[in-house]
Symmetry: D2
Subunit: 364 residues, 4 copies
């Protein structure tokens, strides 16, 4: 029973396998009258494209998005927006190997267990290529958020054991995060991260890390308790990204050792607006946005495809066997996860702004 | 736009304010023919009831559940099951204070911002009392899971800075977790935890912690990529619990510093069944259950109601003011979160077992 | 897999069996700040109550509604509103007969086929008593619609072969429909209808009819093509009422013999507002409201419980057998369907006004 | 707030404007392992294609479907199936006229009222071309139904005032319905219908009619009371088709003049299976399928585009004006509605077979 849609008012349905004909997305619920062009989408897609750094896999895709519906003369129509990107640089031969041998840490095994019939080529639907649709939808969500001056910023704060170790201000993220291959907003740390990632890669191994995503100028009042809380929906959105294994809101994991008197953000008034003087809550209380910046951290596991030999099972002989992979792999996923996590944040916020009536659902 | 329902095939809708007439839940999607009595529900509700330990608030509620529909002669009918618990021990006077002064760290402020008109009595809908409905629904989910021998175990693994510091085996959780006020499966650590919690409480302060929930005998193949992945739905379910600020699957946050060769669980065969030799993934790969135990950790923040004076805003004068709370409060939420987190895990698993066709949706 | 919820933004979940402890409803998605009391609900419930005329069954229920949540000091809170009515006048003995013998034309057979385990008492969940929840939810929807001056009017236009035979003006419906047992807005026809209904009843038989529901002052722009069109949602809402077997929008069935030049409503301007000069479309074009009155007709089949002997099967011996019913039955359902159909119309319109952003979903 | 998805377990999302780049659909929830090729889809699309008879518009589209995802080596993968058809024969010039002048009876007016910014070319999203996606999705649904030998048959039973006037047996529908331009299963009546349709067309006018859709071998137990009843979902599905203004189940509108003793279908046993001896109910009781054939009739209004002059409003001058249309139009929609109505019936049944656990949702 399909689970390929996300959102209630801003509804995203992605489709496509890594080595199928194309990958794409349908976005339903975008109000009419929003300026939108393929350039708006392409800008975001270019950020997630593989082959753009030493940290990511060398797959070469131009990833030209095509908008097939929902836009007329540069404006949205209020009808569903269908977008796709053709798959071109597809070499399925390296994957013949894993047809019978599921890769440890990968979805190969569970897709086989669930569906029987599996597209083993390039990870099929479980490939990171699936995120093309998320990023394209997120680009539309960002345009919508822009109407209310909401901004989304993502950056890598830890990779291969190297951490920035302190909170980074939004201005610094804007200035530096996109300037290096790690998408780390602290240039010095970025260099160390990259070195640590490449060191592990040179040993045939991969590394994990942590990505932070921030939303600025978020209106207060977003989130629908008690289940569709803003943080609950963000948690689902983030955890649905492949390789993400932990989601933290605000101070997150660190709340476990705080006292209440440390954890509570004092409330005050600044320029006629209610604010909190600190923001450990990460901009959300009781599942509803406070108006302070929203802050989410996600842990990204090391890519499961490694060159080191691993133990697995041959699905035909039903015996233990050794698996030794070749082919193109990512040494670290953080920089590529950044635009995807931003997209998911944008989608959740656009959805809740529509649900809360802050954006008119018919026309903007 | 209401967000008080959870689940697709096993649908839970909770309702009720802390000091309203009652709290309750409607569960839709339970197949016909399941044995169910009020005793099955009561057992779980008794575990979450306040007033049962020094760690939780002294509110005294008998919390007698009444099943109003969906069950006839001890069997479910396939129709919605409506359950409620009357609110009796309601003293709203202490809350007059916060009518104008939102408590830092609490939902008071955001409910006021979102809804204008607010039930300030006892936290209203944002109160932990809302979880009565979750636990009652979870009790039905557990009965359904029992048909497939799936078991759910929850326990406190860290509180007030005191941690068990190692993985606890299921047998030990079953034996010890319910035997102490902290619901910690290591009796020695439990004592230290309790002491640390009470120490902080004696200074008018509260403490956080970490709760782990495990599911055993989970069939492989649960979870619907790419958005309704099993871990994504678990993340939403857990983050929707008040006070939860982080959700980790399997090794969770620790994946950030692992190498791929450490993170991947080798695949093998044991007794004619495919298994992984370790379980860092926490029983889920690519959003689909592997058949290994599911392991989720959640970080619980310190309760926001503390006796220490705090800075807030008077919503009438619009000026900063000091808030000094009295009344009944929880020093630490972990032990009470345990049955709620178990309930949410049970609900998610029942939902996905129905979605995957593993439980027949018409009759069992 | 439960189907007991209706609506996207204004979400109604009903529960309860005819001879269970109670019947009720949870309404999620009502904005905060709406004036609401039990009197508002009771007024509508009193209209659907059985025992109020010779046309309906003599079951005597006071049907006192209790609001259990979501309202504080006469205003809605933005949280779910739970309401119930206790079942009191329950005599299950006459139903022992049908435990093994499904009534022709009734849901007995299909519930047994689907769920196995069945509540045969009083029709269980398939009883008209289930509509208590619909009418209570509809009363809230009507309050919301009242904010925009939208009015809903229902009346019987045909029963037992006696038809009013012409379009009735809203003013006449308001004046006369509630004044007679048939809820027919033409007093003369009402008398003939009643006589025809009672004649058939005296022969142990039942009769069908047609009910019309109209909405006035509906804003243009409601409805979400291409599936959640306003008429599509109305069709589902109406067809989900027990005994309804046909739904017609505007001229409905009569469109089949019209020419395009007869069917099209000319468009014009009146008092600075675009109108259609006729309204064969029934206020909806392309699934979106035009601003003209919405007009729906539903065909109500004769109640299946008749006193005449009928052929059925004994579910134990698996042999054909004769069924001869006693007990309390309705000779004609139209007058009781009127408030239910109004409620469903109100629910659909409230849902779409929230979806279209015409009512603010957070607070009114 | 988008309404372009239909279904719960078998989820269909259509997209595309008449004169945009393409029209298409994503189908989510198809189990893995189903044999599926573009030929399966094409066969159904060819049936709905315009330009194939004198009754339908002369637009010439090859309408070649492309499956872009979800199928690998002739079998479904359990992942979403994305399909599209490119728009080629697009001549938007005739539509410049209606840019300012909404056509009476058409969606032009309401789209303009709702969305402001409108695609007036060829009806945009409100065009019958949108049904390409429905028919493509329906073709997959039919394949799924075929696994359980469920068959869907559609035919025209009335057009331009000419009616077949009696119930047609399934065998006759199979033999004759696809053999004439009206899709009428009675060859003699078909000729008269066609003549009446062409007569009106020669006078610049259009005609309405009635289409019947039947499902054979439907398993008992489909439908989820009390809102997602099988007939309620069918009513929504059918009413969501453009130009449909009435939906009748079984005897439908005729129930209004029946007595209960006429309306009830006697229950009996034939070949060890419970049956009803007549089928006035149309195969559904209490919202659940009985196992008898499902029978739905829909009224199709005359196409709103006529050559006769009509009164409308100039949206710029805000004055009444005359509209005289040229271009390619359909004289009667019934034959083209047949495959669309079949598709919607198939989608609803596939959805409910998955919901009821009759088809395994993971793999077939």
């Amino acid at each position: 029973m399909g689970g390929n849609s996300f959102g209630t008012a801003f509804k995203v349905t992605t489709w496509g396998e890594s080595h199928g004909r194309a990958v794409g997305v349908v976005v339903d619920g975008v109000p009419a009258g929003l300026s939108l062009s393929e350039k708006d989408i392409q800008r975001e897609l270019d950020r997630r494209r593989p082959g753009s750094s030493r940290v990511t896999s060398p797959r070469r895709e131009l990833d030209r998005v095509e908008i097939l519906s929902g836009v007329f003369r540069g404006k949205t129509l209020g009808t569903p927006i269908s977008m796709l990107v053709w798959n071109r640089d597809v070499d399925s031969r390296p994957y013949e190997l894993i047809k019978r041998k599921p890769r440890p840490g990968h979805a190969d095994l569970t897709y086989w267990l669930k569906y029987g019939h599996v597209d083993y080529r390039g990870g099929g639907r479980a490939s990171a290529r699936e995120t093309v649709g998320r990023v394209a939808a997120g680009a539309i969500a960002k345009k919508l958020l822009g109407l209310k001056r909401v901004e989304i910023l993502g950056h890598t704060i830890e990779a291969a054991g190297v951490s920035v170790g302190r909170e980074i201000k939004p201005a610094q993220i804007k200035r530096y995060a996109e300037k290096n291959e790690m998408r780390c907003a602290d240039p010095k740390t970025a260099k160390k991260m990259l070195q640590a990632v490449l060191d592990a890669a040179s040993r045939g191994d991969t590394t994990g890390g942590v990505v932070e995503v921030i939303a600025l100028n978020v209106p207060a009042g977003l989130g629908e308790p008690v289940f569709d809380k803003l943080d609950a929906d963000l948690a689902k959105a983030m955890m649905s990204i492949g390789a993400v294994k932990a989601v933290e809101m605000g101070a997150g994991r660190d709340f476990s050792t705080m006292l209440g008197s440390e954890a509570n953000d004092p409330i005050s008034v600044r320029r006629g607006r209610i604010v909190t003087l600190t923001n450990k809550a990460g901009g959300i209380l009781g599942g509803i946005s406070t108006g302070m910046p929203i802050r989410v951290r996600i842990t990204v596991k090391p890519p499961s495809s490694i060159r080191k030999p691993q133990t697995t099972v041959d699905l035909e002989t039903w015996k233990e066997t050794e698996l030794k992979l070749a082919g193109r792999f990512d040494p670290n996923l953080c920089p590529r996860v950044v635009p995807v996590a931003e997209a998911m944040m944008a989608i959740v916020l656009a959805d809740h702004m529509l649900r809360a009536g802050i954006i008119n659902p018919n026309q903007v």
